[in-house]
C-alpha cells in the first residue's frame, strides 16, 4: 500500500464519564478517500477534531505526516493546519462576511504571494467547482443549508490541502446535490491527489466516494475495508443494520 499520511494508534478520548473513543486504530493512505460511518454520537466529529488539534486525545498516538499532533509547537501546528482542509458539519461560515470574503479570509492570510486579481480568480475557480458562482456576493444567511455546505467545502479547498476532512458533507441535501458533492470529493482526490476522510451517514455517498470504509462502533473501528468487504461479509449485526436501513432492501 501507499504511505500512510495519518496514523492513529490506540487513541482514547473521554469527556468526563463519557468515554467517546476507546482505542481507535486507523490509517489514512495517500490519495485515498476513507469513509467513516457510525451512529450519531459515536465520536466521528471528535476524531477528526483531534486530527487538526482542536481537541487533544487522552491516550494513544496520532501522527499526521509522521508527526505527533499533540506535541507540536504553535508554529508547527499552523503549518500542519495549512495542509489540512476541514469542512465543518454545520459549515461554520463567517456570517458577518460575504461569500467572497469568507473565501478570501484564509487566502489573504496564508498565501501572501497572491495579488488581488489572482485571489479573485482563485475564488471564482473554487466557486465554480462547487457550482455556486452566482452566490459570490451573498451573505451566508441568504444561502440555503446545502449551499452553505458547498461554500464551506470551497473555503477549505481554496488552500489546496493535502488532506481533506469532510464532516457529513451530504447531510440534509437532495440526492442530486449529493451526487454533485460526491463527484466533487472524487474530483478533488483525482486532481490534487488529496487524501480524505469523509464522515457520513449516507451509504450512497460511502459507496460512491469510499476507496475504503470504516465503521465506528462503541468507540472503536468495528470493520475496515472496501464497501463490499464491509457490508457483504458483515458478521456484525449493527453494521448490517446500517446497510439495511439505508437501502431498505435485503
Amino acid at each position: 500500500m501507499a504511505e500512510a499520511v495519518i496514523e492513529i494508534r490506540k487513541l482514547t478520548k473521554s469527556f468526563g464519564d463519557l468515554h467517546v473513543l476507546r482505542g481507535v486504530d486507523l490509517d489514512l493512505f495517500k490519495g485515498e478517500n476513507l469513509v467513516v460511518l457510525g451512529k450519531s454520537g459515536t465520536g466521528k466529529s471528535v476524531l477528526i477534531k483531534i486530527i487538526v488539534g482542536l481537541l487533544t486525545q487522552d491516550e494513544g498516538t496520532l501522527k499526521v505526516f509522521g508527526k505527533e499532533v499533540s506535541t507540536l509547537s504553535n508554529k508547527e501546528l499552523l503549518d500542519l493546519r495549512l495542509k489540512i482542509g476541514f469542512s465543518f458539519q454545520n459549515s461554520a461560515l463567517y456570517d458577518s462576511m460575504s461569500v467572497r470574503d469568507n473565501l478570501d479570509f484564509p487566502l489573504i492570510r496564508n498565501v501572501k504571494s497572491l495579488s488581488k486579481a489572482q485571489r479573485d480568480k482563485k475564488i471564482e475557480m473554487v466557486l465554480e467547482s462547487v457550482g455556486l458562482s452566482q452566490a459570490i456576493n451573498q451573505m451566508p444567511s441568504e444561502l440555503s443549508g446545502g449551499q452553505r455546505k458547498r461554500i464551506g467545502i470551497a473555503r477549505t479547498l481554496i488552500l489546496e490541502p493535502e488532506i481533506m476532512l469532510y464532516d457529513e458533507p451530504t447531510a440534509g441535501l437532495d440526492p442530486i446535490t449529493c451526487k454533485d458533492i460526491n463527484d466533487l470529493i472524487n474530483q478533488v482526490r483525482d486532481e490534487y491527489r488529496t487524501s480524505s476522510i469523509v464522515i457520513t451517514h449516507d451509504l450512497t455517498c460511502a459507496k460512491d466516494t469510499g476507496d475504503r470504509v470504516a465503521v465506528l462502533l462503541d468507540g472503536q473501528f468495528g470493520a475496515v475495508g472496501t464497501f463490499e468487504e464491509v457490508f457483504k461479509e458483515a458478521s456484525e449485526e449493527r453494521i448490517q443494520a446500517f446497510y439495511d436501513y439505508n437501502f431498505i432492501t435485503k
Partner: protein, 266 residues
Amino acid sequence: MAKIKVEEKDHLISKKVDKFFLDLANVFRFIKRFFVEVFVPPYEFQEVLRQCYQIGVKSLPLLSLTGFIVGIVFTNQSRPSLSEFGAESWLPALIAIAIVRAMGPLVTALIAAGKVGSSIGAEIASMKVSEQIDAMEVSATNPFKFLVVTRVLAATFMIPILVMYVDFVALMGAFVNVNQNESVSLIAFFVQVFDSLTFLDVTSSIVKSLIFGFTIGIVGCYKGYHSSKGTEGVGKAANAAVVAAMFLIFIEELLSLQIVNFIRGV
C-alpha cells in the same frame, strides 16, 4: 467511607471559591495573551478600523441624546443649591468640573458597556457556538488576533474619543439651560468652563476613559470567548459581559478618584 472522602477532596476550599479563583486566573491569562499578541505581527489594521467604526459611529446617536439630557438636567438640578448662596454665576464652573471629571466618562462608559460590551460578547459567543472560531483556527489563522485584539484595541481607542464628545454635548446641554436662565453668551460660558478645568482634570479623564474602554473590550471578549456552548450561552455571555463591565467600571472610577486626589494632594 473512604470513597466519600475522595469525592470531598476534588476541590480545595469549596467548589464556588475554587471556580472563582480559576476564573480569575483565566482572566489574567487572557489579558496576558492580549498584550503578547497585540505586538506580534501580522496586524489586522482593517478589522481594527471596522471595529472602531462599529463602536464609535454606531453609538453616537444614543450618546448624543444622553449627554445632552444629562447636561440640561444636571444644570437645572444644581441651580437651587447654588442660588441659595447667590452663586449662580459659578454654575458653568461647577458643571464643567462635574462633567469632565466624573459624569462624562461614567455615562459614556456605562452606556458603551451596555451597547458595545453586550454586542461584543454576543457576537463572539455566537461565533464560538457555531464553530466559526474553530473554523478560523483550522484555517491556520489566529482567531484571538482577529476577534479579540481588534475589538479590545478599538474599544480602548474609541471610548476616550466618545467621552470627549459626550463632555462637549453635555456642556452644550448645560449651556442651553444656563443661557435660558442667566442669559450668558456661548463664549462667556466656555471661557468660564475652560478656566475652571485643570490639566490634571483633562488628562486623568482621558486616562480613565482608556481604562474603561479596555475593560469593556476585554470583558466582552472574555465572556464571549469562554461562553458555554449552545444558544443559551450567547445570551448569558452578552448579559455577563454587561454586568461585569459595569461593576468593574465603578470600581475603577473609585480607584481613579483616590489616585487623582492623591496626586492633587487633597
